[in-house]
Amino acid sequence: MIPQFTATDFFVLKPILLLSLFGCGILILDFLIKDPRMRWWNAMTALLGEIMTGVAIWQHQQDLGGAAIQGLGGAIVVDGFSVFFNWLFLGAASLAILISVTYLEIEGEHRGEYYALMLFAQAGMAAMAQGYELVTLFIGLELMALSFYVLVGFLRDEKRANEAAIKYVLLGAFSSGVLVYGFSILYGISGSTDLRQIAAAVAQREPTDPVMILALVTLSVGLFFKISAVPFHMWAPDAYEGAPTPITAYLSVASKAASFALMLRIFLVPLWSARELWIPALAVVALASMTLGNIAALTQSNMKRLIAYSSISHAGYMLLGLVAANETGLQGIAVYLFVYMFMNFGVLTVVAAMRREGQPAEEVDDLSGLMARHPGYAILMLIFMLSLAGIPPTAGFLGKYYIFLGLIEAGHYLLAVAGALYVAVAAYYYFRIVRAIFLSDAADPPTFHLSRGVKLATVASGVLTLLIFFYPEPILSLAADSVLLALR
């Protein structure tokens, strides 16, 4: 029987197809734009693509009646989980596009490929969230990773960008290799690439089976690289620092979320029966990530590096949700990733707007005296910092709330205490930034390039960071739906 490409397949694939289509469209459009000042049409096209994708995701959400919709013979699905993550990718990509235009214009690298690659990366992420089969998942991962390799090194004349891209490519390729090795073991165990059949085969095996341990180790290592968890985090600070700042934000939010989506699918479906084996290992990695991330961030003077180390510690917190391995904890990962998007984008947007003599100004000290010059942005930064630290009344608190509650429900009290005390450590370096903004004066302040896109992105991030705290119900129910299906 020759499988037919049905309407359902099309429906399920729609976001991925639309993103790829618009990505290719931008490549052609860019060719037609003669006047370099009209390049912002590329960004507008990309935003249009996001809107169309948004409609497709919305349709997914509407048609989802509790059960997953399967397409391409079950290789790709629509469920609450994929809808949730697709929304997240959409938000991150839109924010990144908004803040990219001015940044690229100043850097003199305003090209269509940039937006095309962003959409391709997003298509890859969508495949990672929707895939239910190893090959699809891996193709999605590689599509995302390859796009990011280019994007990180997009400022070709920058030494730092080149170094970052090389590091990221080498380590990324290595980690993908390790991960795909793990995939091959799973295939070897089950004779299938379908996650359900792998799960059935894995459940037959003892968790202490050497093959299982090997599969677990390789899969974990590959995924730890992708989410930048200790001890596989070394690429993150360099890649974050060297990449164009909008890409730093996109990478730190969307790529991390997509990698978490992949991780959750693999750990919750095929490896669920071996959870007694991976929970302690994840606990150690999570603790190490929080420890190293927080302690290394204490002494950073570059904002992007500081955010990189802080994102390592945030990855640790999110992993704790998987350690809890209950509904609350997993819901916590989803909520955490979602709110993390707004606060991280907010901070990096402000950083991206700062320039001194045409060069990016990225030091913590460059924020000194922001309150005197741009009080609105200073207050927004305060909101982002409180949210990153997890202090109410900001959305960041809700993420921590779920993670802690999940740990308590699972009886991991010591991990909860450790996570809670690291909140105070993290508050120290976030408040170094607050101190610079509110308590210090600047001798030589950088100029701010506040385009409409930057203003919109920052204000939207700030408003949402507060709004999600005061009215979290929609996000919480979306996250709750995502979790139910992840747990089958």
Binding site: M371, L382, L386, I391, P392, P393, Y401, F404, L405, I408, E409, Y413, A416, V417, A420, L421, V423, A424, A427, Y428, F431, V434, R435, F438, L439, P472, E473, L476, S477, A480
Partner: protein, 519 residues
Amino acid sequence: MKQHILSIIWLTPLVGMLLLLFIPKENKQLIRLFANIVGALGMAVCLPLVFWFDNSIADFQFVERASWIPSLGVEYYLGIDGVALLLIVLTALIGFLSIWCSWNAIQERTKEYYAFLLFLQAGMMGVFMALDLFLFYVFWEVMLVPMYFIIGIWGSARRTYAAIKFFLYTLAGSVLMLLAMLTLYFLHFQQFNEYSFALEDLMRTTIDPTTQIWLFWGFFFAFAIKVPMFPFHTWLPDAHTEAPTAGSVILAGVLLKMGLYGLFRFSFPLLPGAAADDSTVEILAALSIIAIIYGALVSLMQKDWKKLVAYSSVSHLGFCTLGLIALNPAGVSGGMLQGINHGLSTPLLFLAVGIMYERRHTREIAEYGGLATRMPVYAALFGIAVFASAGIPGLNGFIGEFAILRGAFEKDPYWAAFAVVGIVLGVAYLLWLFQRIMLGSITNPKNETVPDLSPREILIMLPLVAGCFWIGLYPKPFFDLLEKPAAKLVERVQPGYFERAGIPNPLDKAKQVAELTKE
């Protein structure tokens, strides 16, 4: 109006702050005036509470309850009893006075300053009203941020250090409290299969004694750091000394009371088993006694006027916690009343320091001497503050200390014996301070020309002085307000206490009144 009075009280300063943001920052005089009006208004909206509060009811009053985050069971749930009423009125008064006393002291970044003060005011009010633990935690944390800025921007030389120390210390305590709250919340869910953070719901949860003790320490860190109890007090001298006068006044007047209030409202009632546990009680009592004596001894050694007052707070709050931990009616109401007393007399002392600092720009005690001859009004008011703090009969401190000693003696005579040593030391360092600053002849020529208090300064101090005398001479209305909440706590921790002791239970009376009115 009556149903929403609590919301109005905490929202008034917040709305005032938002309106303040629209005034251009160059217009400093208008900003000052506006902030003072909002402060006065904040006090005015508290007045109806005093008249409407029905002291014959033992339950929470002016209750407002609405669902906030249904899927987490979080509610917007406010209500007050006698203790909260006193603290809210105190907060309104202190909040207004701290705004007023900053009129000349704050010339830089005036707009931000008043915005933070008003924001802080809203947070503090919320803490004393919230009956939902999630809501309480939000108010509790929100308050930290403006205080950080008030110390960090307008403080003296080591302000950034003091500000971050205050912030991190308190934050570390609060996150542990958060974990304890979440554990309680989960235990309640397990038993009743519904999510709720409401105080009365969580009080219904049955918890085994070991868990209770763990949870108790979880809450304890947050509250002990805030009080502050020995050995968690080290942030206090820095924060109090470096903060601007208004910041010190609020810290001493209101913020420290929050720890006390937290123990009273949450720790003990939620975890009565832990509070009845002998070793817990003994540890807390020991820490309180150490705080009393250590705080007093350190105060004796201080050369810095403001630091001396700061350390005296450690000692005085030790009395409050000692009374509270005695867990009998006299001790609990004495401890809470002493909290109010401290909230009246210590702000007076800080205002006095601030007034001299504005004139002389030094806090060294040795720089002063013989001020009484130049500034008789100031000397008189400062003298009252000192006497009130030292617990001289006729002033409020005496009443509070007496009640605490009675409670402590009933629990364990040794506690009372140690506390008396603290009182003697307290009299010593306070009177010695007064002597070094006020008495004798002027030795430092710079003090020859300092002017006496301006009418504004006198007016700021008068309400506090009046409060000191009121409680000192006629404390009955205050004890009446504290009686039922204290009885409720004692009955919760030691069921049947009143029957055993042969004292009439004020709660029974309240019940009879309620039945009579029903008929």
